[in-house]
C-alpha cells in the first residue's frame, strides 16, 4: 500500500536527519534546563525586580508561537547582516551563516521559558520546613539548593518535564522552515523529488513516533530511579 521505492535511495539522508533532530533536541533540553533552573528559582526567592524580568521572559516566550520566534531570529537578524559587512570576516561568521545555531538558540530559549515556568511551581512546592531544617543544620545556601531544594523540586515535576521533552521533540520539524534538514526536512526533499505526498509524511511521522517512545521510556526509567514521596 503506497509506493516506497524511494526509501533505499534516501535512507542515508534520513539517518543524517535523525542525527540533526537528536542533536537539536539534546542541545535544547540540556541548555534549556540549565537556564530554567535560575529562571524558575529567582521567581521564588527574588529579588523582586529580577523575578519580574524572569516572569516577563517566560510570558513573552510562552505567549508567542515558536515558528515566529524561529523566523524572527533567522530572517530578522539575518536582515541586519548586510548593514554590517565586517561581520563576514569575523570569527563569528561561520556560526552566523549556518541555520542550525539559530534553531538551537530559539529552542533553548523556548525550553528555558516553558521549563522555567514549571520549575517556578516546582521550587515553590517544596515544603519550606525541609529548607529551614537544612539551613539550621548549618548548610550554606548553595548547598541547600544543590542537595535539597533542586532535587526535591525535580522529583515533583519529573513527569511534567518529561512531557516538555516530548513537546520539544515534536517542535523540531519547525526548524525545517529555516533550511534545516531534520527528519521532516528530509521528508520534504523526498516529497519534492518524487511527488509522493503521503508516504514520506507517514514515514517521518513513524520515525518521530519511535523517537518519542524512546524518550518516554528514558524518562520513565528516570522517574523510577528518583525516589518520590508523592507517588501514589
Amino acid at each position: 500500500m503506497g509506493e516506497w521505492y524511494w526509501l533505499p535511495d534516501y535512507a542515508w539522508r534520513f539517518v543524517e536527519g535523525i542525527g540533526v533532530t537528536l542533536e537539536l533536541l539534546f542541545i535544547a533540553l540540556f541548555f534549556g534546563f540549565l537556564l530554567a533552573i535560575p529562571i524558575g528559582l529567582v521567581q521564588v526567592t527574588g529579588p523582586k525586580w529580577l523575578a519580574a524580568i524572569a516572569r516577563g521572559f517566560c510570558t513573552m516566550i510562552r505567549g508567542t508561537p515558536l515558528l515566529i520566534q524561529l523566523w524572527l531570529l533567522y530572517y530578522g537578524l539575518g536582515s541586519l547582516f548586510p548593514y554590517f559587512p565586517e561581520l563576514r570576516n569575523s570569527f563569528l561568521w561561520p556560526i552566523l551563516r549556518e541555520a542550525f545555531p539559530y534553531a538551537a538558540v530559539a529552542f533553548i530559549i523556548s525550553v528555558a521559558a516553558y521549563e522555567g515556568h514549571i520549575m517556578r511551581g516546582a521550587f515553590a512546592s517544596v515544603p519550606k520546613g525541609e529548607l529551614e531544617a537544612a539551613r539550621s543544620m548549618g548548610m550554606g545556601r548553595f548547598t541547600v539548593l544543590r542537595r535539597i531544594w533542586l532535587p526535591r523540586a525535580i522529583q515533583n515535576v519529573l513527569p511534567t518535564l518529561a512531557g516538555e521533552a516530548v513537546l520539544t521533540l515534536k517542535s523540531v520539524p519547525l526548524a525545517s522552515t529555516i533550511t534545516i534538514f531534520d527528519v521532516f526536512g528530509v521528508g520534504g526533499i523526498v516529497r519534492q523529488e518524487t511527488y509522493r505526498i503521503y508516504e514520506p509524511l507517514i514515514f517521518v511521522g513513524f520515525i518521530y513516533l519511535l523517537i518519542t517512545a524512546v524518550l518516554v521510556v528514558l524518562f520513565r526509567w528516570l522517574e523510577n530511579r528518583v525516589p518520590s514521596a508523592n507517588r501514589a
Binding site: 530572517y75 539575518g78 536582515s79 547582516f81 548586510p82 561581520l87 563576514r88 552566523l96 551563516r97 549556518e98 541555520a99 522552515t177 533550511t179 526536512g185 520534504g188 526533499i189 516529497r191 519534492q192 523529488e193 511527488y195 505526498i197
Partner: protein
C-alpha cells in the same frame, strides 16, 4: 454512541456548509508567497502580475469565472488532485516527472533558469559551485536541478522565493538558482544590485518546455478549454499586449 454518530455527521455537514461551492468558478491555484513579476499581492490584498493578467485573459477567452486560490507551493499538486483547485496557474514548469501525477496545458511562457551570485564571486560553470552553498525554493524544478546536477554544492531549500533572495543578500548563501525572469526585479532592487547572473541552465528533461497550467489527469475538457484560450490570446494579440507591460523581449519562447 448515537451522540458520536450525530456529532460526526454534524461535522461533515458543517464542513460541507462551510464550503462555498460556487458553481462553475474555475479555481486557479498559485503559490501563497509573492513571485514578482508573475504574481504578488498588493498591500491592499489584490492580485497583480503578468501571470495574473494572463490567467484572467484566459478565463475571459474561455468565458468562465475564475478565482485565485493561494496555496503553499509544497502542497499545490495535492490540492489539484484532491479537487481543491481546478488548475495550477502559478508558473509551474511542465516536466515529465510532474506529468506522472498531473496533466498540463500547452505552455504559456518559457524562461530559462539562472544562477545569481555576488558580482565578486568567480563562477564560470557548474563545477565552480563545488563547496559553495546554493539556495533554491522547495518543490521547484530549480531545486530538482540543483539536487541532480550540482555535485559538491550544499543545497539549502527555502519555503519561498523571497527568503532565499534575502539570505543571498545577507550573505548566508553563495548563490541562488531560480527563474531568470523572477530574479530580474530582485537584481534591479537595492538588495540585488551587488548580484549578477552567472549561469543560465537549459535542461529540457528537468525544466521542461516551459510553464503551463497544471490540470487534473483526465480533465480533458478543461485542458482543451485552456489550450484553445491560450491559442486565442496568442493570436489576437492580448498576450503580447500584456507581455509588453512587463517584459521587453519575447517571453513566450518561440512560437
Amino acid at each position: 454512541m448515537k451522540t458520536m454518530k450525530s456529532i460526526l455527521a454534524a461535522v461533515i455537514l458543517s464542513a460541507a456548509a462551510a464550503t462555498t461551492a460556487r458553481a462553475d468558478t474555475i479555481r486557479l491555484g498559485l503559490d501563497s508567497a509573492p513571485y514578482d513579476p508573475f504574481y504578488s499581492r498588493t498591500a491592499g490584498g489584490e492580485w497583480k502580475g503578468f501571470e495574473i493578467e494572463v490567467g484572467d485573459a484566459l478565463c475571459k477567452a474561455m468565458n468562465e469565472e475564475c478565482e485565485w486560490v493561494p496555496i503553499a507551493w509544497d502542497g499545490i499538486i495535492p490540492a489539484l488532485t484532491s479537487n481543491q483547485i481546478d488548475a495550477i496557474v502559478g508558473s509551474m514548469s511542465i516536466t515529465e516527472e510532474r506529468m506522472k501525477t498531473i496533466d498540463f496545458s500547452n505552455k504559456y511562457y518559457n524562461t530559462p533558469a539562472a544562477l545569481i551570485a555576488p558580482k565578486s564571486m568567480e563562477i564560470k560553470s557548474i563545477e565552480d559551485l563545488k563547496g559553495k552553498t546554493v539556495g533554491v525554493q522547495v518543490s521547484t524544478t530549480h531545486a530538482n536541478f540543483a539536487e541532480a546536477k550540482m555535485d559538491g554544492a550544499t543545497i539549502k531549500t527555502y519555503q519561498d522565493f523571497n527568503e532565499h533572495n534575502q539570505d543571498l543578500f545577507a550573505g548566508r548563501i553563495d548563490a541562488v538558482a531560480a527563474d531568470s525572469l523572477a530574479l530580474d526585479p530582485f537584481l534591479k532592487s537595492k538588495e540585488g544590485e551587488s548580484m549578477e547572473v552567472k549561469l543560465t541552465f537549459e535542461d529540457d528533461a528537468i525544466f521542461g518546455p516551459g510553464v503551463g497550467a497544471g490540470i487534473r489527469k483526465g480533465d480533458t475538457e478543461l485542458k482543451d478549454k485552456f489550450n484553445k484560450a491560450i491559442a486565442q490570446i496568442l493570436e489576437d494579440g492580448t498576450y503580447d499586449e500584456i507581455a509588453k507591460k512587463y517584459f521587453d523581449f519575447d517571453i513566450y519562447g518561440g512560437r
